[in-house]
């Protein structure tokens, strides 16, 4: 067991051993979700605050379910129900939460670095559930878990991440996690969506979708947001879909055992054709299932769990 952190702010800084520990713990906790009685008492008496300052369905539900399956008490706040709409600052809101002695604050925020700000201000563990365009570590960990489950050891695997890299916290966290685990990573997309100096993260860059598809063992598609069109990043969704969307036609060039991932929510017919998202190579729903297991593992590990206590 190799995990001694108080916060999880990002994939950056996690060692290979720590990631292994998280994944192994998640793998062992996964089966709880398939029981008749989906609950163990491990975190009984612990309080988890889900503080979602940005809309989210999947991640928030996943965290709530994860906490509940471990018997933690959970409270959920969203931006619209918190005092933030009354003009309270993030730090003040957090200090008030802190005064109620939660054990973990899970935070999703539209601005990069918000979890880091909180971690400097309060004593509870901070678990980053996505901050701006910066990081989304639990997504990367559930992706790593899914890849490992489907493809075996991550070291040496070829992973193509395709789409809007520049605005994607999922891409950043995955790149960091995959590189730490020894995978090869290529990013592909229109050059307007590939940030400057991305190669300093250890990735290859291509603007050719088919080049990436042919090369990859794992294809990770990213969601493209319509608002990016207004930022002059691409001419139209139609053109985006034609040159950077994954469809049955260009998928023919892929390896026969390729897996296709997507962090969701998917834009059917834009970055991914429905037949691909629902097709045999797709592991998109496995990612969601593993999300619960990974979040259970993190809640457990951050609260200082010991393997011996894990017996249900």
């Amino acid at each position: 067991m190799n995990f001694n952190r108080h916060h999880l702010l990002g994939m950056k800084g996690l060692t290979k051993e720590e990631i292994e520990t998280i994944l192994t713990t998640a793998e062992s906790l996964k089966e709880i979700s398939f029981r008749d009685i989906k609950k163990v008492p491990t975190l009984r008496g612990k309080t988890v605050v889900n503080f979602f300052h940005e809309p989210s369905t999947r991640t928030r539900t996943s965290f709530e379910i994860a906490a509940k399956r471990l018997s933690a008490d959970t409270v959920s706040l969203s931006a619209s129900t918190s005092s933030l709409v009354k003009g309270e600052t993030l730090v003040d809101t957090a200090r008030n939460l802190e005064s109620m002695n939660p054990d973990i604050i899970v935070i999703r925020h539209s601005m990069a670095g918000a979890p880091h700000l909180l971690s400097r201000m309060i004593k509870a563990s901070i678990l980053n559930a996505g901050d701006g365009m910066h990081e989304h570590p639990t997504q990367a960990l559930l992706d790593l878990m899914t890849i490992r489950e489907k493809k075996g050891p991550i070291e040496g695997l070829k992973v193509a991440i395709i789409g809007d890299i520049a605005h994607s916290r999922v891409a950043r966290s995955n790149i960091i996690g995959l590189k730490t685990m020894g995978a090869q990573v290529t990013v592909a997309g229109p050059p307007t969506m590939i940030p400057l100096f991305i190669e300093t993260m250890g990735v290859e860059v291509t603007s050719s979708l088919s080049e990436a598809i042919i090369w990859a063992d794992v294809i990770m598609m990213l969601r493209v947001q319509l608002e990016r069109q207004k930022q002059m990043l691409f001419p139209s969704l139609r053109e985006y879909s034609r040159f950077f969307g994954l469809n049955l036609e260009n998928l023919k060039k892929a390896k026969r055992d390729v897996i296709i991932m997507h962090p969701g929510p998917i834009n059917r017919g834009v970055e991914i054709q429905s037949e691909v998202a629902d097709g045999p190579y797709s592991v998109i729903l496995d990612q969601v299932t593993n999300g619960v297991a990974v979040r259970m593992a993190l809640l457990y590990l951050l609260l200082g769990g010991k393997k011996s206590e894990m017996a249900d």
Binding site: T89, L90, V91, H109, A112, L196, F197, T200
Partner: protein
């Protein structure tokens, strides 16, 4: 009061003086400067009070060409009183304050108000900078003649670049008739908008929108071309990129009346200071790369950059202790500019006289201040006595400034102002040997 500043190393870059000298001060003016005599006459000296400066450096009073004093309008960040307290503690005897107050300093009433407050404070001289355009909106010229009559020393829409090239051209032409330099905040807003740090490796890793170097350089190029066309002086504010240094170097080679300043953070820190989302490292222009930092240092050394300015930008904790993207841009600098500048001397990048010039002769030349920035008989006795080798640790809690937003807290630095004199009055004194 009569003063004798005795036996200091007097550095006056304008007159190329670097000698051990005595300076006599009478009625707020410099009465005389004398090389140290073998034996001082005892007769007639008894009524001069002595400031023993042996082993110390005496310079013309430092001038900060780029300060935000925040008053009127933002007194919770800084006032003219607290800002000038910070100034004199940092060795500055004069500060030029930017026009982005509330109301904006785009008319004589605001200028007069600033000067009145400065007079009440009786610390550093305050040199107001007027707005180029009404309300800093970049649409209509402010009443520049009236501003000049009220006492402004330059014009700038600092914080808000003049995006309209026609307006910039007319401002340059019109201001020339009133002998007012224009200080240009160079930024192409269509390129920089929504950016919060330098666009580069760090912005890519942190997922923050970047401000590319090109956003600064494009506007500098435009202003240089307008300078060439109008032959009106342009002073480029807070230069932060290697490309900008090169553009200015070439403009100066052509003999254009272009001058430039940088701020200590641009030669002391890089974009890496932002890692961890430290809002104290958020400023505009943003901290750049190591290459830019080295180019700025080179530009200072070869004279491309004439001035070191603090760009003192006070902000309340409330405006910094927030999400990075929401945090205010800027840091305070009046109390750290001198030690950080002297850091370049200790690193062997500038000579001591060169460093002093960037804080005295340079700003005085840009602002056409005839009696400031040098030491001469009959000039106002504005002087700074400093110990270039005094080591100390920067502590924001010791700052006179009302705001504490500095990324240099805890830095060990070398070099400090020990005494600041404005028009013959001691306004800051840490020389224990002198009675108050």
């Amino acid at each position: 009061m009569k003063w004798l500043i005795r036996g200091g190393r007097v550095i006056d870059p304008k007159h190329q003086v670097d000698d051990l000298m005595d300076i006599y001060i009478y009625q707020g003016k410099i009465l005389d400067l004398q090389p140290i005599p073998a034996k001082r006459p005892s007769k007639g000296l008894s009524d001069f009070r002595v400031i023993p400066a042996e082993g110390l450096v005496v310079t013309p009073g430092l001038i900060d060409i780029h300060t935000h004093l925040r008053e009127p309008g933002f007194e919770y960040k800084e006032t003219i009183l607290t800002g000038t307290q910070a100034a004199v503690a940092g060795g500055f005897t004069a500060v030029a304050c930017m026009a982005n107050t509330l109301p904006v300093n785009d008319n004589q009433s605001v200028t007069e108000y600033i000067l009145k407050k400065a007079k009440e404070a009786r610390l550093a001289r305050v040199l107001p900078i007027g707005a180029i355009s009404i309300g800093l909106k970049g649409e209509t010229l402010a009443e520049i003649g009236e501003l000049k009559s009220a006492g402004v020393v330059a014009l700038s829409d600092d914080g808000h670049p003049v995006s309209n090239s026609q307006l910039m051209r007319r401002a340059l032409e019109y201001a020339k008739g009133f002998e007012l330099p224009i200080i240009s905040h160079c930024e192409d807003l269509t390129l920089s908008r929504s950016g919060v740090i330098n666009e580069g490796t760090v912005s890519t890793w942190l997922g923050l929108y970047g401000i590319p170097s090109a956003a600064e350089e494009i506007m500098i190029f435009r202003d240089i071309q307008l300078c060439q066309m109008t032959q009106s002086p342009v002073h480029i504010a807070h230069v932060s990129t290697a490309g900008a240094v090169q553009l200015i170097r070439e403009a100066k080679k052509k003999g254009l009346p272009v001058t430039a300043e940088t701020a200590p953070h641009y030669f002391s820190l890089t974009e890496e200071a932002v890692i961890g989302f430290d809002t104290q490292a958020k400023m505009n222009p943003p901290l750049r790369t190591k290459d830019d930092l080295l180019a700025i240092q080179k530009g200072l050394k070869d004279g491309t950059i004439d001035v070191i300015a603090s760009d003192h930008a006070p902000h309340n904790t409330l405006e910094k202790e927030v999400e990075f993207e929401q945090a205010a841009m800027g840091i305070i600098g009046l109390e750290t500019a001198l030690p950080l500048t002297l850091g370049l001397v200790h690193k062997g990048i500038l000579t001591l006289p060169q460093a002093v010039a960037k804080l005295t002769e340079g700003p005085a030349r840009v602002l056409n201040l005839k009696h400031y920035g040098h030491l001469q008989k009959a000039c106002p006795a504005n002087l700074t006595v400093l110990d270039p080798d005094l080591e100390f640790q920067i502590d924001i809690h010791s700052f006179r400034s009302k705001s504490k937003n500095s990324p240099f807290h805890g830095w060990k630095v070398k070099g400090k102002a020990l005494l600041t004199m404005v028009e013959g009055r001691i306004v800051f004194n840490q020389l224990t040997s002198i009675p108050e």
